[in-house]
Amino acid sequence: MCQAGNVFTDRGCQAYLVSSAEQDVRAPECGPDGVSATAGGGLAGWRTVRRGPAEGDGVRVGVERRAVLRAGLVVLAGVGPLAAGCTEQAVDPGPDPLAVLAETALADAAEAESIAAALPTLAPAAGVIAAARREHAAALRAEVDRVRPTGTSTSDATSTTSVAAPAPTDVAVGSTQLQIALQEAEKAAVELVATLPRHRAGLVGSLAAGCASLREVLA
Protein backbone atom coordinates (compact mmCIF):
# COMPACT_ATOMS: atom_id res chain seq x y z
CA MET A 1 0.00 0.00 0.00
CA CYS A 2 2.68 2.39 1.01
CA GLN A 3 4.43 2.12 -2.30
CA ALA A 4 2.37 5.05 -3.59
CA GLY A 5 4.89 7.46 -2.02
CA ASN A 6 7.54 6.05 -4.29
CA VAL A 7 5.90 7.24 -7.43
CA PHE A 8 6.82 10.74 -6.41
CA THR A 9 10.04 10.47 -4.52
CA ASP A 10 11.82 8.18 -6.96
CA ARG A 11 10.81 10.07 -10.06
CA GLY A 12 11.52 13.51 -8.64
CA CYS A 13 8.10 14.82 -9.62
CA GLN A 14 7.02 18.44 -9.30
CA ALA A 15 7.52 19.92 -5.87
CA TYR A 16 3.88 20.53 -5.13
CA LEU A 17 3.05 16.94 -5.86
CA VAL A 18 5.69 15.76 -3.47
CA SER A 19 4.56 18.02 -0.67
CA SER A 20 0.87 17.31 -1.03
CA ALA A 21 1.44 13.62 -1.38
CA GLU A 22 3.81 13.29 1.54
CA GLN A 23 1.27 14.05 4.22
CA ASP A 24 -1.15 11.44 3.00
CA VAL A 25 1.37 8.82 2.18
CA ARG A 26 3.84 8.87 5.02
CA ALA A 27 2.46 6.48 7.53
CA PRO A 28 4.27 4.69 10.33
CA GLU A 29 4.86 1.47 8.49
CA CYS A 30 6.27 3.19 5.42
CA GLY A 31 9.87 2.75 6.48
CA PRO A 32 12.83 2.39 4.14
CA ASP A 33 12.22 -1.33 3.94
CA GLY A 34 8.68 -1.00 2.77
CA VAL A 35 9.75 1.58 0.24
CA SER A 36 12.51 -0.46 -1.32
CA ALA A 37 10.53 -3.67 -1.28
CA THR A 38 7.64 -2.23 -3.21
CA ALA A 39 9.53 0.08 -5.55
CA GLY A 40 8.78 -2.04 -8.59
CA GLY A 41 5.02 -1.71 -8.35
CA GLY A 42 5.06 2.04 -7.86
CA LEU A 43 7.41 2.72 -10.74
CA ALA A 44 5.56 0.48 -13.12
CA GLY A 45 2.37 2.33 -12.39
CA TRP A 46 4.06 5.66 -13.09
CA ARG A 47 5.46 4.53 -16.39
CA THR A 48 2.15 3.52 -17.86
CA VAL A 49 0.61 6.84 -16.95
CA ARG A 50 3.44 8.72 -18.60
CA ARG A 51 3.75 6.73 -21.78
CA GLY A 52 0.55 8.10 -23.37
CA PRO A 53 1.56 11.68 -24.24
CA ALA A 54 5.24 10.85 -24.69
CA GLU A 55 4.65 8.36 -27.48
CA GLY A 56 3.26 10.87 -30.00
CA ASP A 57 5.74 12.58 -32.30
CA GLY A 58 6.78 16.19 -31.71
CA VAL A 59 5.31 16.53 -28.25
CA ARG A 60 6.04 20.04 -27.03
CA VAL A 61 7.57 20.60 -23.63
CA GLY A 62 4.49 22.49 -22.44
CA VAL A 63 2.20 19.64 -23.31
CA GLU A 64 4.53 17.20 -21.68
CA ARG A 65 4.49 19.23 -18.48
CA ARG A 66 0.76 19.58 -18.44
CA ALA A 67 0.37 15.91 -19.13
CA VAL A 68 2.70 15.12 -16.30
CA LEU A 69 0.76 17.36 -13.95
CA ARG A 70 -2.53 15.86 -15.03
CA ALA A 71 -1.11 12.40 -14.66
CA GLY A 72 0.06 13.43 -11.23
CA LEU A 73 -3.46 14.39 -10.25
CA VAL A 74 -4.78 11.11 -11.53
CA VAL A 75 -2.17 9.26 -9.49
CA LEU A 76 -2.96 11.44 -6.48
CA ALA A 77 -6.63 10.58 -6.76
CA GLY A 78 -5.62 6.96 -6.74
CA VAL A 79 -3.30 7.50 -3.79
CA GLY A 80 -6.02 9.01 -1.61
CA PRO A 81 -7.86 5.85 -0.68
CA LEU A 82 -4.64 3.84 -0.59
CA ALA A 83 -3.02 6.28 1.80
CA ALA A 84 -6.15 6.42 3.89
CA GLY A 85 -6.06 2.66 4.26
CA CYS A 86 -2.39 2.86 5.13
CA THR A 87 -2.90 5.43 7.88
CA GLU A 88 -5.91 3.72 9.34
CA GLN A 89 -3.95 0.53 9.77
CA ALA A 90 -1.09 2.36 11.37
CA VAL A 91 -3.17 4.45 13.73
CA ASP A 92 -5.02 1.47 15.14
CA PRO A 93 -2.10 0.08 17.22
CA GLY A 94 -1.95 3.38 19.12
CA PRO A 95 1.17 5.39 19.86
CA ASP A 96 4.46 4.54 18.17
CA PRO A 97 6.14 2.00 20.45
CA LEU A 98 9.43 3.83 19.95
CA ALA A 99 7.88 7.01 21.34
CA VAL A 100 7.14 5.10 24.54
CA LEU A 101 10.78 3.96 24.74
CA ALA A 102 11.90 7.55 24.12
CA GLU A 103 9.85 8.86 27.01
CA THR A 104 11.24 6.23 29.35
CA ALA A 105 14.76 7.11 28.20
CA LEU A 106 14.20 10.79 29.01
CA ALA A 107 12.76 9.96 32.42
CA ASP A 108 15.74 7.67 33.12
CA ALA A 109 18.15 10.41 32.07
CA ALA A 110 16.50 12.87 34.45
CA GLU A 111 16.66 10.33 37.27
CA ALA A 112 20.34 9.59 36.60
CA GLU A 113 21.10 13.32 36.56
CA SER A 114 19.48 13.89 39.92
CA ILE A 115 21.32 10.87 41.36
CA ALA A 116 24.62 12.16 39.93
CA ALA A 117 23.99 15.52 41.60
CA ALA A 118 23.03 14.01 44.96
CA LEU A 119 25.64 11.23 45.20
CA PRO A 120 29.20 12.21 44.17
CA THR A 121 30.36 8.57 44.41
CA LEU A 122 27.92 7.59 41.71
CA ALA A 123 28.37 10.76 39.68
CA PRO A 124 30.78 9.39 37.02
CA ALA A 125 28.67 6.32 36.21
CA ALA A 126 25.36 8.14 36.60
CA GLY A 127 26.64 10.89 34.31
CA VAL A 128 27.50 8.36 31.59
CA ILE A 129 24.08 6.76 32.00
CA ALA A 130 22.30 10.11 31.82
CA ALA A 131 24.14 11.13 28.64
CA ALA A 132 23.54 7.76 26.99
CA ARG A 133 19.84 7.71 27.87
CA ARG A 134 19.48 11.21 26.43
CA GLU A 135 21.14 9.97 23.25
CA HIS A 136 18.72 7.02 23.20
CA ALA A 137 15.77 9.39 23.50
CA ALA A 138 17.09 11.57 20.67
CA ALA A 139 17.71 8.60 18.34
CA LEU A 140 14.28 7.14 19.04
CA ARG A 141 12.59 10.52 18.65
CA ALA A 142 14.35 11.04 15.31
CA GLU A 143 12.98 7.71 14.06
CA VAL A 144 9.47 8.47 15.37
CA ASP A 145 9.51 11.90 13.71
CA ARG A 146 10.87 10.46 10.47
CA VAL A 147 7.82 8.25 10.20
CA ARG A 148 5.30 10.73 11.61
CA PRO A 149 6.77 14.11 10.62
CA THR A 150 3.93 16.25 11.98
CA GLY A 151 5.15 15.68 15.53
CA THR A 152 1.76 16.26 17.11
CA SER A 153 2.49 13.64 19.70
CA THR A 154 4.70 13.91 22.74
CA SER A 155 7.43 16.40 21.94
CA ASP A 156 7.05 18.04 25.34
CA ALA A 157 7.42 14.77 27.18
CA THR A 158 10.51 16.16 28.90
CA SER A 159 8.55 18.50 31.09
CA THR A 160 5.99 15.92 32.11
CA THR A 161 8.30 13.00 32.78
CA SER A 162 11.24 14.77 34.37
CA VAL A 163 9.23 15.55 37.48
CA ALA A 164 11.06 12.80 39.28
CA ALA A 165 10.98 11.64 42.85
CA PRO A 166 13.66 13.16 45.11
CA ALA A 167 17.07 11.54 44.60
CA PRO A 168 18.10 8.89 47.14
CA THR A 169 20.70 9.82 49.75
CA ASP A 170 22.16 6.32 49.96
CA VAL A 171 24.64 5.10 47.33
CA ALA A 172 23.35 1.53 47.37
CA VAL A 173 19.78 2.71 46.90
CA GLY A 174 20.77 5.06 44.09
CA SER A 175 22.78 2.36 42.35
CA THR A 176 19.94 -0.15 42.62
CA GLN A 177 17.51 2.42 41.28
CA LEU A 178 19.68 2.98 38.20
CA GLN A 179 20.20 -0.78 37.72
CA ILE A 180 16.47 -1.45 37.83
CA ALA A 181 15.65 1.35 35.39
CA LEU A 182 18.25 0.03 32.92
CA GLN A 183 17.04 -3.54 33.34
CA GLU A 184 13.47 -2.52 32.59
CA ALA A 185 14.53 -0.44 29.59
CA GLU A 186 16.51 -3.38 28.20
CA LYS A 187 13.58 -5.75 28.72
CA ALA A 188 11.16 -3.41 26.95
CA ALA A 189 13.59 -3.08 24.02
CA VAL A 190 14.23 -6.83 23.76
CA GLU A 191 10.51 -7.58 23.72
CA LEU A 192 10.00 -5.11 20.90
CA VAL A 193 12.86 -6.25 18.63
CA ALA A 194 11.08 -9.35 17.32
CA THR A 195 8.10 -7.38 16.05
CA LEU A 196 9.79 -4.39 14.41
CA PRO A 197 10.69 -3.74 10.76
CA ARG A 198 14.35 -4.37 10.01
CA HIS A 199 15.86 -0.91 10.37
CA ARG A 200 14.02 -0.35 13.64
CA ALA A 201 15.14 -3.76 14.91
CA GLY A 202 18.73 -2.60 14.49
CA LEU A 203 18.18 0.63 16.42
CA VAL A 204 16.20 -0.98 19.22
CA GLY A 205 18.68 -3.89 19.39
CA SER A 206 21.50 -1.41 19.90
CA LEU A 207 19.39 0.28 22.55
CA ALA A 208 18.99 -3.01 24.42
CA ALA A 209 22.73 -3.70 24.16
CA GLY A 210 23.41 -0.14 25.33
CA CYS A 211 21.28 -0.57 28.45
CA ALA A 212 22.99 -3.88 29.26
CA SER A 213 26.39 -2.20 28.81
CA LEU A 214 25.39 0.74 31.00
CA ARG A 215 24.64 -1.72 33.81
CA GLU A 216 28.22 -2.91 33.39
CA VAL A 217 29.40 0.70 33.64
CA LEU A 218 27.67 0.83 37.01
CA ALA A 219 29.03 -2.52 38.21
Binding site: V193, A209, S213, V217
Partner: protein, 162 residues
Protein backbone atom coordinates in the same frame (compact mmCIF):
# COMPACT_ATOMS: atom_id res chain seq x y z
CA UNK B 1 14.42 -52.52 13.37
CA UNK B 2 12.97 -49.06 13.74
CA UNK B 3 13.28 -46.42 11.12
CA UNK B 4 13.45 -42.81 12.21
CA UNK B 5 10.29 -41.01 11.21
CA UNK B 6 11.91 -37.58 11.39
CA UNK B 7 14.49 -36.75 8.73
CA UNK B 8 17.89 -35.99 10.20
CA UNK B 9 19.13 -32.49 9.51
CA UNK B 10 22.36 -30.70 10.44
CA UNK B 11 20.68 -28.64 13.16
CA UNK B 12 19.68 -31.77 15.00
CA UNK B 13 16.00 -32.34 14.34
CA UNK B 14 15.07 -28.83 13.29
CA UNK B 15 13.95 -28.58 9.69
CA UNK B 16 16.44 -26.64 7.62
CA UNK B 17 15.33 -23.03 7.41
CA UNK B 18 16.04 -21.05 4.32
CA UNK B 19 18.04 -17.85 4.60
CA UNK B 20 17.48 -14.99 2.17
CA UNK B 21 20.67 -13.88 0.38
CA UNK B 22 21.03 -10.59 2.29
CA UNK B 23 20.52 -12.34 5.62
CA UNK B 24 23.07 -14.99 4.70
CA UNK B 25 25.66 -12.39 3.70
CA UNK B 26 25.21 -10.55 7.00
CA UNK B 27 25.40 -13.77 9.01
CA UNK B 28 28.56 -14.83 7.14
CA UNK B 29 30.10 -11.42 7.91
CA UNK B 30 29.19 -11.84 11.59
CA UNK B 31 30.78 -15.29 11.53
CA UNK B 32 33.89 -13.65 10.07
CA UNK B 33 33.93 -11.18 12.97
CA UNK B 34 33.61 -14.09 15.42
CA UNK B 35 36.57 -15.87 13.78
CA UNK B 36 38.60 -12.66 14.04
CA UNK B 37 37.81 -11.95 17.69
CA UNK B 38 38.72 -15.54 18.63
CA UNK B 39 42.08 -15.10 16.92
CA UNK B 40 42.59 -11.74 18.66
CA UNK B 41 41.90 -13.25 22.09
CA UNK B 42 44.63 -15.76 21.36
CA UNK B 43 47.01 -12.99 20.34
CA UNK B 44 46.44 -10.71 23.34
CA UNK B 45 46.72 -13.49 25.87
CA UNK B 46 50.47 -13.29 25.24
CA UNK B 47 50.58 -9.60 26.20
CA UNK B 48 48.13 -9.38 29.09
CA UNK B 49 49.11 -10.22 32.69
CA UNK B 50 47.64 -13.20 34.53
CA UNK B 51 44.90 -11.08 36.07
CA UNK B 52 43.13 -11.10 32.73
CA UNK B 53 43.21 -14.87 32.25
CA UNK B 54 39.65 -15.42 33.44
CA UNK B 55 38.30 -12.61 31.25
CA UNK B 56 40.16 -13.98 28.22
CA UNK B 57 38.93 -17.51 28.87
CA UNK B 58 35.30 -16.45 29.24
CA UNK B 59 35.53 -14.24 26.14
CA UNK B 60 37.00 -17.11 24.15
CA UNK B 61 34.36 -19.56 25.38
CA UNK B 62 31.52 -17.22 24.54
CA UNK B 63 32.80 -16.45 21.05
CA UNK B 64 33.58 -20.09 20.25
CA UNK B 65 30.03 -21.00 21.27
CA UNK B 66 28.66 -18.18 19.12
CA UNK B 67 30.86 -19.23 16.20
CA UNK B 68 29.67 -22.84 16.45
CA UNK B 69 26.04 -21.77 16.73
CA UNK B 70 26.40 -19.52 13.71
CA UNK B 71 28.01 -22.30 11.68
CA UNK B 72 25.13 -24.60 12.61
CA UNK B 73 22.61 -21.96 11.61
CA UNK B 74 24.23 -21.60 8.18
CA UNK B 75 24.62 -25.33 7.67
CA UNK B 76 20.98 -25.91 8.60
CA UNK B 77 20.01 -23.51 5.82
CA UNK B 78 22.19 -25.42 3.38
CA UNK B 79 24.92 -22.78 3.28
CA UNK B 80 28.65 -23.31 3.68
CA UNK B 81 29.97 -21.40 6.71
CA UNK B 82 32.85 -19.12 5.87
CA UNK B 83 36.10 -20.54 7.33
CA UNK B 84 38.50 -18.57 9.52
CA UNK B 85 41.49 -16.82 7.99
CA UNK B 86 44.94 -18.11 8.84
CA UNK B 87 45.76 -14.87 10.67
CA UNK B 88 44.35 -11.39 11.19
CA UNK B 89 46.23 -8.13 11.01
CA UNK B 90 45.41 -5.79 13.91
CA UNK B 91 45.07 -2.14 12.81
CA UNK B 92 47.72 -1.17 15.35
CA UNK B 93 50.67 -3.33 16.37
CA UNK B 94 50.14 -5.21 19.62
CA UNK B 95 53.22 -5.00 21.82
CA UNK B 96 52.12 -4.39 25.39
CA UNK B 97 49.15 -4.30 27.77
CA UNK B 98 47.57 -1.03 26.56
CA UNK B 99 47.81 -1.99 22.89
CA UNK B 100 46.49 -5.46 23.68
CA UNK B 101 43.49 -4.01 25.55
CA UNK B 102 42.86 -1.59 22.69
CA UNK B 103 42.78 -4.35 20.09
CA UNK B 104 40.39 -6.54 22.13
CA UNK B 105 38.05 -3.57 22.49
CA UNK B 106 38.26 -3.06 18.75
CA UNK B 107 37.58 -6.71 17.92
CA UNK B 108 34.57 -6.87 20.29
CA UNK B 109 33.27 -3.62 18.81
CA UNK B 110 33.55 -5.11 15.31
CA UNK B 111 31.46 -8.04 16.50
CA UNK B 112 28.73 -5.71 17.79
CA UNK B 113 28.63 -3.90 14.44
CA UNK B 114 28.43 -7.18 12.52
CA UNK B 115 25.53 -8.51 14.59
CA UNK B 116 23.59 -5.28 14.48
CA UNK B 117 23.91 -5.50 10.69
CA UNK B 118 22.32 -8.96 10.90
CA UNK B 119 19.42 -7.47 12.91
CA UNK B 120 18.87 -5.03 10.07
CA UNK B 121 18.93 -7.76 7.45
CA UNK B 122 16.75 -10.53 8.80
CA UNK B 123 13.11 -11.19 9.49
CA UNK B 124 13.38 -14.65 11.01
CA UNK B 125 12.65 -14.46 14.73
CA UNK B 126 15.27 -17.03 15.77
CA UNK B 127 18.02 -15.36 13.72
CA UNK B 128 17.02 -12.03 15.23
CA UNK B 129 17.12 -13.49 18.70
CA UNK B 130 20.61 -14.87 18.13
CA UNK B 131 21.81 -11.58 16.63
CA UNK B 132 20.45 -9.56 19.55
CA UNK B 133 22.03 -11.89 22.10
CA UNK B 134 25.38 -11.78 20.29
CA UNK B 135 25.25 -7.99 19.97
CA UNK B 136 24.41 -7.56 23.64
CA UNK B 137 27.03 -10.01 24.92
CA UNK B 138 29.78 -8.44 22.86
CA UNK B 139 28.73 -4.93 23.88
CA UNK B 140 28.87 -5.88 27.56
CA UNK B 141 32.26 -7.58 27.11
CA UNK B 142 33.61 -4.57 25.20
CA UNK B 143 32.44 -2.37 28.08
CA UNK B 144 34.39 -4.50 30.58
CA UNK B 145 37.52 -4.25 28.43
CA UNK B 146 37.12 -0.49 28.06
CA UNK B 147 36.82 -0.21 31.84
CA UNK B 148 39.98 -2.28 32.20
CA UNK B 149 41.72 0.03 29.72
CA UNK B 150 40.50 3.08 31.64
CA UNK B 151 38.44 4.40 28.73
CA UNK B 152 35.50 6.69 29.43
CA UNK B 153 32.70 6.48 28.56
CA UNK B 154 33.05 2.73 28.83
CA UNK B 155 30.29 2.16 26.31
CA UNK B 156 28.79 4.00 23.36
CA UNK B 157 25.11 4.82 23.86
CA UNK B 158 24.10 2.57 20.97
CA UNK B 159 26.61 -0.29 20.59
CA UNK B 160 26.79 -1.78 17.12
CA UNK B 161 26.09 1.50 15.38
CA UNK B 162 28.61 1.56 12.55
Amino acid sequence: MTTPSVPITPSGGQPAASLPADTEAAVQAALGAEHAVIWIYGLVSAFLPEGYDAAIASGLDAHRARRDGTERLLAAAGKTPQPAEAAYLPPQPVADEPSALAVVVLAETDVTIAWRAVLERCDDASVRGAALAALTESAVRATRWRKAAGQSPATPALPGTP
